[in-house]
Structure formats: structure tokens, C-alpha cells
Symmetry: D3
Subunit: 318 residues, 6 copies
């Protein structure tokens, strides 16, 4: 359990804790002696560190992307804090809690997952209910689904973000369709809402950093997700062909237009609604994250590049 | 009260009822004698008619766009029904019910307007509550607001469509937002939802046909609506300046992007939400209208040009 | 075996052959008597026909989209040939040769398929060789693959077009790439070229007309094809994961950009090359078809809408 | 009256003059002692300054965005000039001349405004003449109108720029149109030219820096300007409705296309002409400013991002 | 000299005049006898004609695109006028006045060309003056330049349109630069204005109809014009290289952006101005033509597709 | 002949060799004494240098863009190598080998040019063969053609790149058309492939750096190339007009669309093929260069901005 975080270090402090190595280069002093420059990171930020002694030996013990336990002292160099590192010891992934190193949802993932399961019991269509059940009882899937982020940046870009986003969209669907529009197949839409982003558990890497995986870059989450869905459907005898096609259509069309990676645009009312609510939830969460991060002393955020505008903070947040 | 409608005429039937003249031209028989060709229209369709006698006199009595009461007989010409018109008498606009001639909402406009008024009482901010009240007590405004269409084509393109759309968006705001996202100014958002399209009462003409007015083409409903809102706000003493700017921002930004006529994109969470729900409601209603209109014997609609795709009808409509 | 084709009928001729019914409506003579108007189609064109006798009885025997054997006589009405139909008898799909009713490649499909098989033996990578082999030995697949069109319009929009296009792209890969660019994984590229469009066998319908299938509209050939590929790969023990991902990437990226339905753009040299050669072959064939169809007396084709220009015919075709 | 400007400071010089504080942060020396780092700005540039003494007391006396009178000495640090500040005293906005701190037109604004007034007397239509007169006699309006910039960057981005641009467009209208195209309503076009950008007086802030105001970001100058115009028109009895609509159309359509913020594109010849001349003047001035700013030793400017190209300087400027 | 024009024919009238054949097909009566259907056209419209006698012989005498002198009588068929043609005689191009068959400027081309020549004498730069002189003294060039249209449709799409447009742009240049913007090379800009569209004399065909030539479609008027300019410059000894490049830049960049066919966008102030004034003149003339053509009884034109909007006619045209 | 290259300098080394001056500024020490800061560049990189002595005199001897022979010593400053320059002597362009200073093809340009000449002998059409011959025997042309780059960045952006690219496209053409598509005019296509980019020899500067020339920016290589081609064609008696137009069409249309600078898109099969193969070759070479440059330790390249994606390196390069 990590206790020393980068955003609360003070000059002179002794450090004995785990960090990720996010940069590591060999440098040379004027006298030609080598030293190691590195950057140490946790979920609260990163700090420069230098290692002066036993450079050759120490250097072989760790590399870029490794978790390391270090003994170090906080010093000040050119008015900035840095670490003088005394010893370095590699730590295995299995021993660490990713939540110490990567940003994480503020909400309780166990509770969110239970909400989702409860809600999925309201799906009356037996085949759709069963396909959801197949996912929820697949412990390998569930473990990743509860921890995966929903994006690299922009919205829900933190551990647990995928679950948070999925639950939010599912609840919007529930509220919207309970009594507003007639003629919507509620079971189909709700199932689609719950499964639309499942491919993201393989599209991203989220152990030492949040980034795309090789599979994610080659195939993206729509293609990965549709394969995961195909496998579950194939395991259910007599799954009706049209139900399968309509559910798969919800998954592949949820980005709304081809330009954003959907091979086909939404062609059913359910698919149109899913696209709008998915997009709404992503945008609202992305903007809110940005509003919360931005300096409190001004009425407007800095320019928000993904949406190409400034946002007004004045009295938006209560 | 009109009783004879074009979609239920039969060969040989005698007609004595009111129609709009939507075409009128003078033609000549082979012997050089003139006759009048015209097209008579009501909300159910249109039919070709010919007038053989007293052509010069009759012709002076009515023109394109007039309502006329005609005596006529239904005949068949080249396997199509047409009218042989015996007499024509102009009828004043005041005497007719536009709902006989233009498509009309199936819902009760009085009831919808009451729902909207009731909902607007839930706005607690006194200035916003008052600005809504100013509109609802303006009888000239209300009369038009309850009968105006929400579009020329695409969605809610019928009398009462504006009210129906406004109520639907307001209810979506209420249902989706009441307890979903925190940090939303509900009063501001709900007031914006109710007033976002008010300019449409002047943007369109909807007496003898649904079309753009000259003012609508020169200025569009955003510019017209903002002026109507300015006038009401100006009549309220001490209306807070920022509340005014934020409410006006909701109106001018609700199309979401400049390409669709919003001079600025949404820059508050409320404006982003209003844009999505307005767009969702328009699209859902536009697609549903198209699904309902299309021939029942196929699984897919014809190509729907405004959204550039076919829609699946299979099991979408229950 | 059909012998009488629409493009060679003559006034007065007696007809006894099979056609598709592509229109059928009930009409009424001036005396109120009903008659049937229909349109009869084969691969060479279509012709209007009328049935005057036993209308109610005859009408129940066939409908739109059916194959029918008719007894009829060719007559002239308003300077156009039409059929006076004496009797109609429905014919089952199984009894007809689709090639009589839909346009068809001029090349020998058996020979083309053998060429493809031969070429696929040059793939040395055992897993890729095996995945191809799995497809070629799947007789249900092969039957459809040899008859499917490659498009609805634009290029290779005829029976056998998919095979013709696939073979052409594979040969381009072979000819252009064999010794031109170094560093290309030839086996991967060739396998991708052969399998890139396989999903089209389910994306289209091509029995009585060439059109999209419901599955095709909901999912498109990239999603369908990737599922077919997944199934074959799953049946091969120890298929290397990276080879699988790279091959699937070739399939999903071959349209080159998201706007044209590829969820991801090409991210390997092989994928970039496949996209270019696929696009080149489609365009060349689409233009050539258009050049060949256009009237011989002018130097320029009419405006070719899919590519938004006229094409020069002067001395292009030898 | 400011006499010491940043672009002419020399090492060792004693400074006693007014600057704007455009950055201010608290820093710490290696011994832990705090000092103030700040940036001081006037219309000629900005310079870094440090305050070593009485840091806590001094720090409370001024903040970011304030005008301050400082006693300081120019020193050199790492080969760059900086200020060692000895005392700081806040100065009220009312006491300073914004022209000392913000870039300013080189032309005489009084003279330009007189030219515009003179030209507006040539408008013969009494209602249009009167609406111009209402603006020119509104001293609050005129004061802002003569000092406002026409843009944040790109063109006329300096005090007085709005007046300069308005006068230039009005003169282009006069020169080009007086006898060139027939069928133009000169009075309407000239009035539109004079009023098309009036909303900019509230769209921007231009006291301590040139930037968007909150109202400008929420509503933009088209919406603000149309409201200002509405108010003047409302104060003129019997202003003809169509003249009002056509004049307002000139204002709302002058950006030419919706993408650039015009809710409707130009739909009259006058509106088309105004758009072209407004755009031409903005571009020419923007390019000329850029040409003048760029280093004299090359034939080409650096890449000009707003127009995405280099400009040739060779013999363009005489 | 043609005296009988299609827009003033009356039933029963005898015709003996020249027309262009714009359609010609062989048809068959019910008795199998052949007859010729043709369409005869002049600058005022076109009319259907039939030839009943000596069909085989007559048919060999003329074809599509030929000028023919006909003897005919005007008759009425299905309430439309048509010609019963009694004899047909081919007429050579040299004998006809294209202005009888194609739309033509209303202005005097000789006078316009003199204006242009006069204006070109004001170019003081000797090399530019000389290059203009070389064009004006080239009688083959001048003959085409005075008769060519400036477009196929849209603006100045009539004989003499190129000269009219060129003169208009040159006069705009003259007025604009005389005293408005400083730093413009007037000689260069004026020469560019006069020569920017010269390639159109070969880009279009304008003998029997206005259309693109083969060269025009393969190369367009920018490429053709630059070659014409190169030839003249090559004939002038010691023409300065930079003047040549800048003048050629004006020609190739005048469409403003690559999307509209300019290989490079304008990169000098002169080129920017030429682009704006060329575009302004084209648009104003295109809109005016459309306004004048449209029915007088409405306030708005029909939808003007090239600019994607309706135009207001109310009080625009004086 | 240069022997000391920047990428292999070592601390303490004595330098006596030629470099290009790519930066030169006068700076001042704290004591006010001036010194020269400069940057010295060759094809392997660049290094900062300082000159402490005889500053005024030395400074007059060389400037930005000059080749200089320097005596210097390599030292280390802030952990970076730099040069302490003892003497500087300007060297004339004629004395240096541009290949020492600019990146250069790895292939033998003499051999590549011979291959191209050999291949051009296969063009049977005598006029096309002759036009190629005219270029190959023009020694001024050939010298530039063999050394010019094919681009500033992106692909073949090195000396000899134009020849390498031209040869590659010509060979692709040869392979493609030998036995694949029928109906292609091989002679025309091959000639076009060889001449499509000739204008680049003047579009770029490639003596001391690779950049656009003034002519290149004003006119681009399509306009420049077409003029070069016009001159050669004009020197061949009786060159057929249509052959000329079709060949010129290949040159002007090879960028495929107007957006990329082709005034007309390809309108013949030959032009379509040339565009595809030119684009394919550019993209493949651009990607390969980027793959080769990127760090070996990762599976993916950094984001490749020109094509807006990462590329997979895994097993792409053999």
C-alpha cells in the first residue's frame, strides 16, 4: 500500500515507496562520469530523479515502464524539487495496486457493478437477458470491465471509467424510455447500452499507463467488442438470428457516423437513441472533468481543444 | 366544417365543399376555346379540376392560394379521378379551419399547453419563472405558439408541431436530468427548453401552406426568437444581466454548431444538454413519421434523404 | 433454359418463357372492369404486360418478385412493344438459372476460381495457407463466393463480379509487389487480398435482383467478413495471435479511411498497399464499364456521377 | 503620460513609470526566502521583473491585470534584460491612457469618425439616415465605437481598428458601387456597411488587454449588434418593417456562410456585396499587418497560419 | 439574317428560316411507315418538328448539330405547337450569325473592347503594357475574345460574356486601387485582371451551343491561358523574370483555393484582390441573371442551386 | 571531400572541415564584449559554435547560408557538445559536394538514370519517344533531374529522390500494364509516368537546404512542368495535337483531385492509373522512411502527422 505521493513531497523528506519509471536516460557529468536521470510517476504526478552511485550496476536493474521501490531524498534544484535516489529495487506488477499509479473513479466500482446487474434483471427478453448474464458470470471479463477506463483522454479517462459510463448510459436509457417515446424495444436498447463499449477492455492498456493496446490500434473496440458478443451469442442455443443482428447493429453503429469509426450509421430507433445518449454522456463528463480541473480564478476555462471552444464556469457548477 | 376530403372521393360523386387552389392556369382546347385547369387541395391530398364554362368571368373570381367553395362532379380521365367544376366561390380565411387544409398534430393542443404551463410553475428562479409567465399570458403569442409547426419538413411538420416538440424536449429535460447529472441549473435549462424555438412562430407561414415567411428567410428563428425574448426581459425590472446572457445563450446555441445556424456553439453544460435533447427529439420524430408513412410490405424504408440512409422497420414499431 | 430474351422481341411474336415480375398493379378500364398491369424482366431488360382475362383468379397466382412462365403475344401500344399475357404460371427459384435474369461476368467463373486456388498455394506461411484452404474447401462458401457480385452499382456489379475483382486484386499484388518493394510480408498481403471482400457474399442479395440484404444494411461486409474469418481461424489450432490480428486488420482497414466504412485506417505497409490496389481495381473497372456502356458517337461520356466528371473516350479504348 | 517603453530599455537604466502586471507568482530562493516574480507589459512588449524585499507586504498591494507605477532598475540575467523592482504602487484605470498599453491605430480617430459622419449624410432614405444619426448622437456608443478593435488577432487588432475597418468598408462601398452595378439600393448597403460590426464594442474587452468579453463569448457580435440596432429602430416611429428586416439581414449575414457565424447567408445583392467587401478589407489588412511585421531579409513571410500559406514580400510593398 | 424566332411562332404560320437541329430520331407510325422526329432550336427556344415525306432521302441530308433552313407550317398537337416540316436544306456555319442561335450580351462588344484597350493604355510598366498590346493586336485572339462566353451556366453564360466580365473586373480594380489601398502594384493587378480568363476562349465551344471543348475538359482555362501568356511573353525580349512569375501567379491563383482549380492560392496582395473582385463580379452577375429570369409574381426566387439558397426580389431590383 | 561529420564528433577533437552556417547572431557577454553564436550543419546534423576573438572582423566574412571551412575544437557546455571556433573561411558553392550537406539517396543515380533511359526506348509511339529523348539529351535538365529531391518532407525528401520516385513509378506502370488491364495506351502512360514530376527541378531549391524556390511557391511544379513540356513539344514538328493534350492532361491531373493542386482530375484511364501509382509510391516510401527513422524499442511509431496515425512496426520490416 503506497503512502507517499508525489503531489505532497517536501524538500528534505526521506522517501521509501513505489513509483513507475516513465523516463530513464544515461547522462554524463562534465568530468565524464555517468549518472542516471529518470522520472518517477504515480497517479498524482511525476518528479525528476538522479542516481549518482554504482550507475552501471543499478542501471541494469530497472527500465522504462517498470515499477520500482526507491530510497531517496527530496532536494531542490533550480527552484524545483527533485529526488536524489540512493537505491532502486524492482517490484512486480502483481504486488502493486494500479489505482495508486493511475487515476481512478471516485465511485465504488463494486456498487456500480451491482446496480448494473440489478438493472439487467429487468430485461424480459430471455435471449437478451441470457446474453447479459453470460457476460456478468464471466469472471475474467468482469474483472477487466470493472477496472477499464472509457477513454485515453477526453472523458472517463480513469480506472473504472468504462463501468461508470456504461452505468450512466444505461440509466439514461431507462429514464428516457420508461414513459417518453412509444415504439421502442426497451430490452434491446438496454442490452445494447450495457454492451456497446465492452471491446474497450482489450482496446486499452491500463496497467502502468492508460494507452491503446496493439490490438486496440489494429482493430478498435467496435471490432473487438463484436467478436466478444459473437462468442457469447454462439454459446446460447437457438439465439434468434434477427435479435442477434439488431443487437450487433447497436454495437457497431453507436458512434453515429462512419467518420467516427462506425462501419454503418444507426438504422433503427434504438440505435439512434443509443448513439445520442452515449455521445451526450461522454461530452457532459468530458466537459465536467475539464471544468473541475481548470483554475478557479477565471470565469472561462482555457481553450478546450477536443471541442474547440472555451467553456463558461461562472455559475454552471453548483 | 369541411366534410368531403380528397382521399375519399369516388367516381361520379357530387362535391360541394371548400378547397385551396394550389395551381391555376388558362389552357386552350383544339378549337381554340379557353378553359381553366386548376388543382384543388386539402390536408388529405390534391386533385386536378377543369372548368369549361364562363371561363373569363369565373377566372377573375379566384386565384392561386385562395380558399374556394366549389360545386363539382368527380369524373375519370385517363384512369385518374378529376373534378369537373361547375361553380366557384371564394371563401375568406377567417371562415375556414386551417386544420382542414394543413396536416395537424394528433394530440390535443389545449392539453399540451396546460402541461407546459404546469411544468413551468416548477421553475423556482423568480426571474425565469416570470419571463415564462410573460409569454404564457401574451395571448397573441400563445395563439400562434399552439398552432405553429416545428419545421417545413423532416419533423413535427404539422400544425401544433412546435408545441408538441417543445413539450417533449421539456419533459426529456425533466426526466433525464432531474437526478442524473449534478451541477446543472435546472431552472435555466428548463426555461431554455421551453423558449428555444419560439422564433418559429414568425419564421414560418402556416395559413394556407407550411412554408418559410419572408422574415424567416431573412432572419431565421434564432434571430427572431432572441428579439422576442429581449422584449419580454426588457419588461421585467431588474432582470439580472448574467441570467439574461445565459438564457439568451441557450436560445442562440441550441443548433449545436455554426454550420446549422447557431452563431455560437453551446458553452455551458445546460446549453450542451439542450442541444442534444432538441436534436434527439427532432430526429426520433422525423424518423418515426417516415417509418409510419412508408409502405408496410417491406422491411426497410425507402432511402431517407435528410439522414442519408434506409431505416429498418422489421420489429422497430410495436 | 431460357431462350427468349426481352432485347430481341418483335411485334407479333408468341412468347413462352420465364421472366421475373418486377411490378404488378391492379388497374381499371373506363367501364370499371379490372385488369392487371405488370412488368416482366430478364437480364436484358424489361417490358410492360397486361392481363385482361380471369383477372381475380390469375392475380392470386403470382406476385412481385416471383419468377413466372408466361404465354403471351408481343403487341405495339403507343409505339412501344408490350405483352398481352394469356396465362401465367409460377416457377420455383430452384428451377431457374439466375444468370438468365441478372447480369453476369463474361469470364469463366470455374477457371477464375482455379486460378485463385493455384495462386493461394504460393502462400508459404502454414497458418495463412491453411486459413485460405479452409475457405476453399467450404463448399457452401465457395458456391456463393463464385456467384456474388462485388457491388450494387459502380464496379463488378454482376454475378461473378466478386470473384473477378478478388482475382484481379490478388494478381495485382503478385505482379506489382513481387519484386518491387522490399520489406513486405507477401504471404500476409496475398491472403488479405483474397479474403478482403468475403463478407459481400452475405452483404448482398443476388437471386432475383442485386441489392443489399438486411444483414448487409445492418452490419456491412467488413463486419460480416471479419466474423467469417474469425470462425475459420478459431478452427485452426495454435493460430498465432499476432498473425490473426494483422490479417484481420487487412480486412477491416481496406476501405482506407473511416468515412468509407473502415473502423481503422491502414496501419501496416501491407494494409496500405491492399487499400490502394483494391481502390485502383474498383475504379478502373467502374470507369471501363461506364465507357463501354456509353453511346459511341461522342468523344466524352455523360457525367459520371459516382466520380463527378466526364471521361474521355477518344482514343482510350483500343 | 507614459515615457519609458519596454522596447527601448537599456541595462542599468532607472525606471519610474506605469506598466500592466500580466503575470505574478510567488517563488522561493534556495534558502527558502520568498520573492515575487512578475511580468510587466506595455504596448511595446513585456519584461520579467523580480521583487526581493518586503515580499509579503508588497504582494498584497497589486495583482494580475493591475496597472502599477514601479521604481526599478534594468539588469541583465542570463543575457536577458530584467527589472529589479524596488517599489510598486497601484494606479487606477481612469488615470491611464489605454493607448500606452495596447496597440493603437496609426490614424486619427476623430478625423476618421468625422469622415464616417459626413459620408452618412449622403444616405437619402430618411429612416436609414435617422437610424445612423441615432447611433452617432449616442455618446456612450460613439466613445466605445472609436476605440474598439475590430478583432483579437488577424486584422485591425488594435484600438481604433473597428472604426478604421468600418470606414474602409464604407468607402469601398462608395467607390466600387456608386456607378458600377445597377439595381443596388445604395442607401441600404451603405447603412449596412456602417453598422455591420457595431456589436464588437461589447464583444471584446479592450481596457488592459484585447480579448473576448463574457458577453462576446456567449452571444458574439452579430447577436449583440442586432440587439443594439433593434433598440435604435424601436425608438424611431413608423420605421418601415421591410426596411428593418433588410437592414437586419445585412448585419446577420455579413459573415457570408453559417460556418463563420452568420445564421443566414446573404440573400440580397446588397448583402452579397457587403460580405465580399468586408471579407476583402479584413484579409488585405490582415496580410499587410503580417507583411509589415515580418523580418526584412527574406522574400517570403513565415507561414501565415490563419490563411495557411506564405506570402511573397518581394516587390509587393512600395 | 434570321427573322422568325421560336418564341413568337403562332398556330398556322408558314416558316422559312434557319434553325439548329438539336435532336433527330427515326420513328414509326402504327402502320410501320417511318417518319422523322426532330427538335429545332434558336436563341429563343426550341420546338418539336415532324417530317412525314421522303423520309429516307431527307434523313441523309442533315444530322444532329447541323444548321438547316426549313420550310414548315406551325400546327398544334396535344395543345402544344409543333412544326410539320416540308423541306430541309443544310446551311453552312459560315453563313449564319451565332448570335441568332446562342444567347448574347446586350451590350456593344466593339465599344466594350475599345474601353478595355483605352484602359490598358494606362498601364505604365513597359513590359506589361507590351504584353497587353501583343494580345490586342492578335486578331485571331481578339475575334474569339470578343465573342466567347465567360461560363457554361451561372454567370455571363452568353456570347460576349467573357469580354463583359473582363471589363467589369478591370473597372472594379481601377476604382478600388486608385485611392484606397496603398502598396498595390496597380500595373500588375490591372494586367492580371485583363488576362485572368483568356484561356476561356479555348476552354469552351460556342458555335452551335455553349459547352466545354475537349481541350477545356482535359486542361481547363487556367492551363490553357498560362500557355497563351507564355507565348506572348516569350515573344518580348528581356521580359523580366520576376514580373513574368508574378503575372503568371495572378492567372493561376485567381480561383482563390485549390478546390476551385487554382494550383496555388493567391500569395501576393494583388492576387488576393483579383480573386475577390473576380468572384464578386461572377456572383453578382449570376444572381442578377437569376433574379431577372424568375417569375415576377413572387417575392423570392426559386431555390438557386449553385448558391444553395433562395434570393429575395422584393425591392432589390430598381 | 568532407571527412569530419557532425554525428561523429567527440569532446576535445580538432576540427578542420566545411559546414553550412544555418544560424548566426551577435551576442554579448556580461562584460559587454560581443561574441558570435552560430550553428554549423552538414547532412548528419548540426552543432552550436561560438567565436570569441576578432569578432567584428570575422563577422564580416560569412553569413547565414554560406559554406565555411572552420578551424575549431569540440568542447562540452551544459552537457552538450559545442564548437569553439578559431578561424572561419568562406568556401564557394562550386567547390563543395551538395551530397555532403543534404541527405541523399542511397542508390546510384547514374545507374537509375540509365534504367529510365533504357525503359524509355520501349515507347514505340515516335512522337512520345522523341519528346522523352529531347529531355534526356538536354544536359541542363538531366543534371538537375538526377539530383533534385521529390519533396520537402514526407517522401523521397533527399537528393536523387525525384529520380528514384520517377523510376519506381515507371516500373510499377510497366508491370501493371504489361498483362493486367487491356485497353490502356502503354506508350502514353509510360511517358506520362516519366514526366509527371519534372517541374520539381525548379519548384525546389536544393543547394544548401531543401526548400521551395520562389518560382515553386508562386507557380508549383504542375505549372512549371507543363511549361517545360510545352517547350519540348513545340520543338518537335507535327506533334499531334490530341497526343499533346492527353500527355499534358497526365501531367496536370496526377495529383488526383483539385484539393491537392491538380486543376482537373484524371479523365482518362491512363490518368487514373498514373494518379494511383504515383500516390501509392509516395505513401509507401514516406511510411518506410518514417518506420526506419523511428526508435527500435517500440512496436509502434510515434504519431505520423502527415497521415494522422501511428504505424505498426512489429513484423512489417523484414
Amino acid at each position: 500500500m503506497k503512502t507517499q505521493f508525489i503531489d505532497s513531497l517536501a524538500d528534505g523528506q526521506a522517501i521509501q515507496d513505489v513509483f513507475i519509471v516513465t523516463e530513464k536516460t544515461m547522462a554524463h557529468k562534465k568530468d565524464g562520469e555517468p549518472f542516471i536521470q529518470a522520472r518517477f510517476t504515480d497517479r498524482t504526478g511525476s518528479i525528476r530523479g538522479v542516481i549518482w552511485d554504482n550507475v552501471e550496476t543499478v542501471s541494469t536493474r530497472f527500465g522504462h515502464g517498470d515499477y520500482v521501490k526507491i530510497n531517496a531524498r527530496v532536494t531542490t534544484y533550480r527552484e524545483t524539487l527533485q529526488l536524489t535516489v540512493l537505491s532502486v529495487q524492482r517490484v512486480m506488477k502483481e504486488q502493486i495496486d494500479p489505482g495508486d499509479f493511475l487515476p481512478k473513479t471516485k465511485r465504488d466500482t463494486t456498487q456500480m457493478f451491482q446496480q448494473l446487474q440489478t438493472q439487467s434483471q429487468s430485461v424480459k427478453n430471455p435471449h437478451l437477458n441470457l446474453v447479459l448474464h453470460k457476460f456478468w458470470e464471466d469472471s475474467v471479463f468482469v474483472e477487466k470491465f470493472c477496472i477499464a477506463p472509457a477513454a485515453i483522454k477526453m472523458h472517463h479517462a480513469y480506472l473504472g471509467g468504462l463501468l461508470e459510463h456504461t452505468l450512466s448510459v444505461s440509466m439514461l436509457v431507462d429514464r428516457l424510455i420508461k414513459c417518453h417515446y412509444r415504439g421502442i424495444d426497451r430490452d434491446l436498447l438496454l442490452t445494447g447500452a450495457m454492451l456497446h463499449d465492452i471491446g474497450k477492455i482489450e482496446e486499452y492498456e491500463y496497467t502502468t499507463m492508460i494507452d491503446y493496446s496493439t490490438e486496440g490500434r489494429l482493430l478498435n473496440h467496435i471490432i473487438i467488442g463484436i467478436r466478444m458478443l459473437d462468442e457469447k451469442i454462439a454459446s446460447i442455443p437457438n439465439f434468434p438470428e434477427m435479435t442477434s443482428q439488431l443487437l450487433r447493429h447497436l454495437v457497431i453503429s453507436h458512434h453515429g457516423v462512419r467518420e467516427y469509426g462506425s462501419p454503418e450509421p444507426p438504422k433503427t430507433l434504438e440505435a439512434v437513441i443509443l448513439h445520442y445518449l452515449d455521445d451526450l454522456d461522454s461530452k457532459i463528463m468530458g466537459i465536467r472533468d475539464y471544468l473541475e480541473k481548470s483554475d478557479e480564478s477565471t470565469q472561462w476555462t482555457p481553450f478546450f481543444y477536443p471541442m474547440e471552444r472555451h467553456f463558461y464556469k461562472g455559475n454552471t457548477l453548483c
